[in-house]
Every structure is written in C-alpha cells, then in structure tokens.
Symmetry: none
Subunit: 223 residues, 2 copies
DNA sequence: GTCTTCAATGACTAGAATACGCATAGTTGG
DNA sequence: CCAACTATGCGTATTCTAGTCATTGAAGAC
C-alpha cells in the first residue's frame, strides 16, 4: 500500500511518514502543495493524506484537482481544531475522512485502515486466500492457524499480493506499490523478497500459493 | 503489438521497456530524437511513446514529422510536471494522450490498452472468435472455457492474429508487429511459433481456427 | 482428363543459445 | 544484530536455429 502525505510542517510530516513506514506502508512525503497535486495525479497511490493548511496551494485545491481528474483514491484530510468550515468544505470537495490536529497516531492508523478497506470491492476485515489469512489491523499473518512472522517489507509485499489475488502482477507494478519513489529498477530485490515469502509461506506445504508467471511477474492464487 | 519508446533518460526508458515487455509488447527503445523520428517513419508501429523533453530534436518536431507523413499511429506523450503548455501544444500537434512524469506504470499500461483498443474499429474489452477468447487486460486465453497457458511470444502472436481475424497476415506483417527490430528475416521462427500455437489451440479440436494461406501467410477464422 | 513428377512451400522436431528466475552468500546501515 | 538490499552462479523454460519430412499445386506425359 503506497501513501502520499502532503504536509508542509517538516516535523509533523516526518513523524507521520515514520509511523506509516513502521506499519509497512510505502510512503512519499511532499511539503509543497502544487508539487503534491502533481504527484497525486501522476502516481497510482492507494491513499492520500492532505493537510488543508498549506502555504503554496490551498489543500482544497488539491482535493478538487484530484477529483476532477476522476481519481478515486481515498483522501484523508488534516485540519486544525478551529477550521470547522474548512473541514466541511473538504468533505464536500471529495475527501473521505478527516482528522483534527493534533491527533493520536493510533487514531490516524485506524482511519487509514478503514479507508483502505473501504476501497476494495468487498470489505473484509481480514484478507483470506485458502488457509492463508492476513489481518491488516493487527498485521497478523497465519497459515493453517499457525502464526507467521514477517518483516515489514515481506508483509507489505504479501499484502499487495493478497489484495490482488488471481491477477498477474508485473515487477514494475509491484515496485510501485510496495516500494516508494527511491526504488532502483536495476536490481532483483523483488525476486529476493518473493523468495523470502515463499520460504515462510509455501515451503513444506503441498498447496503452493505464490506462483511465477515466467516473463511477466508473479501471482497469488490457489491452483 | 509493437511499440516505439523515444526517451533519452536511460533509466526511465529501460523501466518502461521492461514493463511493456512483461506485458508481451514488442518494444524498440530509442534515446535520440532524430533517429527516433526515422524509426517511426520507417516502421509500422502500433503505438509511439514520446518524451517531449529530448536533447537533439524537440519532441514536438517528432509529432509533427509523423503526422505530416500521414501516419495515424496513436501517440502518447510524456511531459514534465511543469510543461503544461508543451502538453497542450503536443495534443494540438496530434498526440492522442499524455502522461506527466513521474507517472504510475499501471496508468501507462491502462492508457496504452485504451489507445490500442481505440485503434481497432470496434472496441471490445475481450477478443473473441468462436469459442476462443483472449483478454488483453489479464492476458488470459481460453478455448471452450478451458484455460490455455501461453508463453509471452505465443501470446503476442495470438493477440495479433485475433486482432486481425479473417484477414490474411503475411510473414513480414507478423514479424513487424510481434517481434522488435532485432528480428532476423531469414529464419522460420514465425512458422515455428504458429506450430506451437496450433498445438495449444487447435490440436485435438474439430474446428481449426489457424489456417495457412499457401504462398501468402496465415489467417485466423472460423471455417 | 488424370497421372506422374518435381519444385516450392510449409510442418514438424530436436537440440543449441539465451534469458529468466531461484537460491544463496555477502554487504550495508540503523 | 537484523532487516534491507546487492551480487553472482546455476538450473531451466523460452526462444530461436537448423535440418528433415510432408503437402501442395503446376507442368508435362499419356
């Protein structure tokens, strides 16, 4: 899950970025409104977090810009306590949820999970395929009832695969959703991580869930 | 489907090339504008992707050159965030769509599918002939409801045949759209791949779909 | 008209070359 | 120390080459 944070206060921005990264999200941080709008338009983010109080471009304009471009990505807006009217305008302009500053980070994370859940066609709290289950809220992964420990990147990759079960995912697609903009194309990190996942999830099981589509990419499915 | 990418930034170019090849497109990459224009004029591409910021020859000149030669090939232009006016000029000069850098690869692929679909007379999401179906979005192929596994080249060949059902396709036509510029004319690779396809699609069926037109080439049709 | 012959064309196969992905070990940085 | 990433050698599926075999259709013989 890749998230764009548009927030001009460096300190707050970094704090959010860090918190999200600890939750295994791939995060891009942008401190400038106009640039942020461009990024939102150009990259296929899974969620946008927008501070409504921005210097260069009012946050509302970002919302409008994104929605005008027919982009459905869920948007969470951040406002100051006082800006009640702003908040209303924000929701009118297409925001999906809001949070007033200062906020508790747990609160933010919970809202994010809710929005990401709502985004998918169905709304299962837990992602499940065969006997493999992943709970985005707790980041618990189990197979056949047995807990599986994953590192942050492993988890992020698995979540992306599970959210797109049955579809071929090419490497560029994966790198775009599981890594952030610093990703280096000329490496085999993705292959390596798929291998890590295989060791933890498929190794020793008769039913393999992770499949290679030679020349194209990878796919998660029951055979 | 064969695509020419004119992009001077090696890294970006390679990234795009790889993404397209993983989607089974035949891709030529050119880092020089003038040379790229020549290639576009000499080869019957199905799509051109042109970066408007090129060192030797401005991207706009390429557009104009191509359109002056009455070539209808759909063109997708890439621009930097700031070049709004360039973008407008590009569309005026005959581009069919644009994308600003950096862009999401999913987005690029979706646009490409849309442009290639628009090119054909009808616009079906799924290509179908008799009980053979091919879905360009998922690259799934089925006959009589049964899934058929194809390699990348096999798929590319079949897609080309299906997009031109009922028409005789000569070997040069096939090589021009299914292979890239490294294709060696003096081989029988095409025959070999037609044979591979026959084994997977027609073998054991009463209705044959792939037909040989002796002295000319091949044709896909219901008898 | 039809039978035979023959050259041209395509079908098919085996195996070589290549590219791709896997595994594993090594490196870096917090 | 561990997670994230890099680098490399190896096995194998895919792609291609090259050769043999089958089919087609036209020309000539009868």
């Amino acid at each position: 899950m890749r998230i764009l944070v548009i927030e001009d206060e460096t300190k707050v921005g970094c704090f959010i970025k860090r918190a999200l990264e600890e939750e295994s999200y791939a995060v891009d941080l942008c401190e400038d409104g106009a640039k942020g709008l461009q990024m939102a338009l150009n990259t296929n983010y899974d969620l946008l977090i927008v501070d409504l109080m921005l210097p260069s471009l009012p946050g509302l304009e970002i919302l409008k810009g994104v929605r005008q471009a027919r982009i459905q990505t869920p948007i969470l807006i951040l406002t100051a306590q006082s800006q009640v009217d702003q908040r209303v305008k924000g929701l009118d302009a297409g925001a999906d949820d809001y949070l007033t500053k200062p906020f508790a980070i747990d609160e933010l994370l919970a809202r994010i999970r809710a929005l990401l859940r709502r985004g998918s066609t169905e709304s299962p709290g837990v992602l499940q395929i065969d006997d493999l289950a992943l709970n985005p809220a707790t980041r618990d992964v189990t197979r056949g009832g047995q807990r599986i420990d994953l590192t942050s990147k492993e988890y992020a990759l698995l979540e992306y695969l599970m959210r797109h079960t049955g579809r071929v995912l090419t490497r560029p697609m994966i790198s775009e959703h599981v890594w952030n903009q610093d990703f280096d194309t000329f490496t085999n990190v993705i292959d390596v991580y798929v291998n890590y996942l295989r060791n933890k999830i498929d190794r020793g099981r008769s039913k393999k869930l992770i499949h290679t589509i030679r020349g194209s990419g990878y796919m998660l499915k029951v055979d």
